[in-house]
């Protein structure tokens, strides 16, 4: 009960605040910006064909009315919310009149699949390997792993991606260069295996850097942890090393890692812009790139809203789960 009042409710409230402020900001920013999206859109539409000034003005009027920009800001704001709550993000300018929500809904599973898997793999392996290498820092294998990571970590992402493409797609030709999958979507081996086949290189390119990052974080947390009084004491008492590693070291280094996982999970909803562009992977990052390129305002807005809600929700979930991991939060 106490936990509900002092821990859970404040966090729910915080979520509501973050989402509210974020959505309001996305409403205000384009309206305060000197560029008028309607003019920009019309300019693009009329770029390759001339139009007489009268019908241009008429079209401008009707577009403004279509977007409700002729109403007062308050009215617009209310309409904005009521449409959002119905899941209506407006039409895409680039693929008029396809709804933005439809575009995002198509792209989202790709991104969640790719980044979700990559995050799960890199988090788990980074945390475990880092803890092992930190705990058994005198062993040869631990030093070899660390040497590897220290070299891999600073390599810029684009270089990793291109090297992977050169080796596996161009030279060995084990994996495809671009694309998301092959065949008709369905729950059959052919489709699923093609998902893995196409997703492998993009996922690997992300996993390398992300694992290295986790590893470095886990190792330094472990180094602090093994110097702690309770680990030293358990070692002195000749508690088996495996037990110390698991219940004393890894268990404690996991706490900050769990919090940090929230940020990685939230970031999934932004998509992986560079990865998806490099591998032409049809996820959120890819549509964002195209939307920016085409000045597709509504799509950019939609992705922004999605990432605001995504990050806020992921942090909320982790916050709510955190007491399960840390008794000091659960039992006060």
């Amino acid at each position: 009960m106490n936990l509900l009042r002092t821990y859970i409710l404040p966090r729910l409230l915080q979520w509501v605040m973050v989402v509210f402020v974020g959505i309001t900001a996305t409403f205000l920013i384009p309206r305060l910006s000197p560029v008028n999206p309607v003019d920009e859109m019309l300019a693009r539409m009329t770029a390759f064909q001339s139009m007489d000034p009268d019908s241009f003005a008429a079209m401008r009027e009707s577009t403004i009315a279509l977007f409700g920009l002729d109403k007062s800001p308050i009215e617009q704001y209310i309409t904005y919310w009521s449409r959002l709550l119905q899941g209506d993000l407006g039409p895409s300018f680039g693929n008029f009149p396809r709804p933005v929500s439809d575009i995002i809904a198509t792209a989202l599973p790709w991104t969640i699949g790719l980044l979700g898997t990559a995050t799960a793999i890199s988090w788990t392996s980074g945390v475990l390997l880092g803890a092992l290498a930190g705990y058994y820092h005198n062993r040869r294998w631990a030093q070899v792993i660390e040497r590897f990571v220290v070299v891999a970590y600073p390599i810029p992402y684009l270089i990793i991606a291109f090297v992977l493409i050169l080796i596996f797609a161009a030279w060995l030709q084990w994996f495809p260069l671009v694309g998301g999958a092959r065949g008709d979507p369905g729950f059959n081996w052919e489709y699923i295996s093609s998902l893995l086949y196409f997703g492998f290189l993009p996922a690997l390119s992300i996993v390398i850097g992300a694992t290295a990052f986790r590893f470095i974080m886990a190792k330094s947390l472990t180094t602090t942890e093994i110097a702690s009084d309770y680990v030293q004491y358990a070692e002195l008492a000749a508690v088996p090393k495996r037990k110390i590693m698991l219940y004393y070291v890894a268990r404690n280094t996991m706490l900050p890692q769990v919090t940090d996982l929230a940020l990685s999970l939230g970031a999934i909803f932004e998509g992986a812009l560079i990865t998806e562009v490099v591998f032409a992977y049809p996820g959120i990052g890819f549509i964002t790139y195209n939307a920016i390129y085409n000045g597709d305002y509504n799509v950019i807005m939609g992705v922004t809203l999605l990432s605001i809600v995504g990050i806020a929700t992921a942090s909320l979930l982790i916050d709510l789960l955190y007491p399960v991991f840390d008794p000091r939060v659960r039992l006060r």
Binding site: S228, D229, Y230, Q232, Y233, A234, L236, A237, A238, V239, P240, K243, Y247, Y248, R251, N252, L255, F325, D326, P327, R328, L331
Partner: protein
């Protein structure tokens, strides 16, 4: 009752090297002592005089930069004489908790914050005995009850316990397997007076139950007065006086010991006592001769150059001081 642990001319230095400059801290320098089975042996001295260092070497739990550069530590366990330096890692792990145990200094943080007390007990017990979880829990519950600790601490996490309770739980954790030899480093420091009394009583109970040997380190002479059978006074890495507790309290001979005893607040007068003038010397360049000479009101010329030997001035009363030695030779000459 024989000797259970002894040191002979033990020297343990911290040898560090930073930017090519070697620094040697002579934290334990030429200490010889014999501790009897079943006694409470108190070790006292100012902060930084090498108490914890001595303890870690006695416990055979030290690593660089701390290095034993001379002398030896000998255990006498089950009629066997074991040189600590020759012990295998395995033998060592075997002895821990079952035979030799340790209550650490500042034991506020020695309990794993994310583990329930009973699980910590199970970790420590099962490391040495083939027991199931429920057997460990039962053993723990019985032991805690014997020591008068509430049973509900079993299911608690460390942060839910008060400082005093955590210290008691730690003492229970250290002694759950009835070790013969218990080392305790400042077990009552950082506790308030009332809680201290409870902890002292608990240590007494634990020690008396099985007649364990307790090696008790604290700078607090009051705690020694309550618990110790014999007291050793350490000054700047040297053993300067050793005698039965009563002798140390009532008839201290070494000038440093006298200061220590006189600076004790007595029960009837609560006024602030004089503290010892000056500061303890740095142990990387200890003073020549008697290490106390810079602060000693009785210092003579010889004190600056020649180190006094530890001599037996009365039965089982040892002290290392030129003035005391001189008085003694005068007395015997008369």
């Amino acid at each position: 009752m024989g000797t259970i642990i002894e040191t002979n001319n033990l020297r343990a230095y911290y040898i560090t090297k930073a930017y090519g400059v070697e620094r040697t801290v002579k934290a334990v320098d030429d200490i010889t002592l014999r501790i009897q089975e079943g006694e409470v042996y108190g070790i006292a001295g100012e902060s930084g005089c090498g108490k914890s260092t001595l303890l870690r070497v006695l416990l055979n739990a030290y690593e660089p930069p701390l290095t034993v550069v001379g002398g030896e530590v000998i255990y006498h366990l089950d009629g066997e004489r074991v040189d600590a330096a020759d012990m295998t890692e395995e033998h060592q792990r075997d002895l821990r908790w079952r035979t030799i145990s340790y209550i650490p200094q500042g034991s506020m943080h020695v309990l794993n914050p994310v583990r329930r007390i009973r699980d910590s007990f199970h970790d420590f017990i099962s490391a040495h005995r083939d027991v199931s979880k429920s057997e460990s829990f039962e053993l723990t519950a019985n032991y805690l009850r014997d020591l008068g600790l509430p049973e509900k601490v079993m299911a608690s996490y460390p942060h839910q316990l008060s400082g005093g309770m955590r210290q008691r739980v730690t003492i229970a954790l250290a002694t759950i397997l009835w070790p013969k030899l218990i080392f305790a480093d400042e077990p009552t420091t950082a506790l308030d007076v009332v809680v201290q009394r409870g902890v002292i009583q608990m240590l007494k109970d634990v020690q008396q139950k099985e007649g364990s040997t307790l090696i008790l380190i604290t700078h607090d002479i009051g705690v020694h007065a309550n618990l110790a059978d014999r007291i050793a006074i350490l000054y700047a890495g040297k053993l300067v006086e050793e005698a039965a507790t009563q002798t140390i309290l009532e008839n201290p001979r070494h000038p440093y010991t006298r200061f220590l005893i006189e600076s004790l607040p007595s029960l009837d007068s609560r006024e602030e006592r004089l503290s010892i003038p000056g500061r303890p010397p740095a142990l990387d360049r200890p003073p020549s001769g008697c290490r106390f000479h810079e602060r000693c009101p009785l210092a003579m010329d010889i004190c600056k150059t020649i180190e006094p030997a530890l001599i037996e001035i009365a039965p089982k009363h040892f002290t290392a001081c030129h003035v005391v030695e001189e008085e003694l030779s005068h007395a015997s000459a008369v």
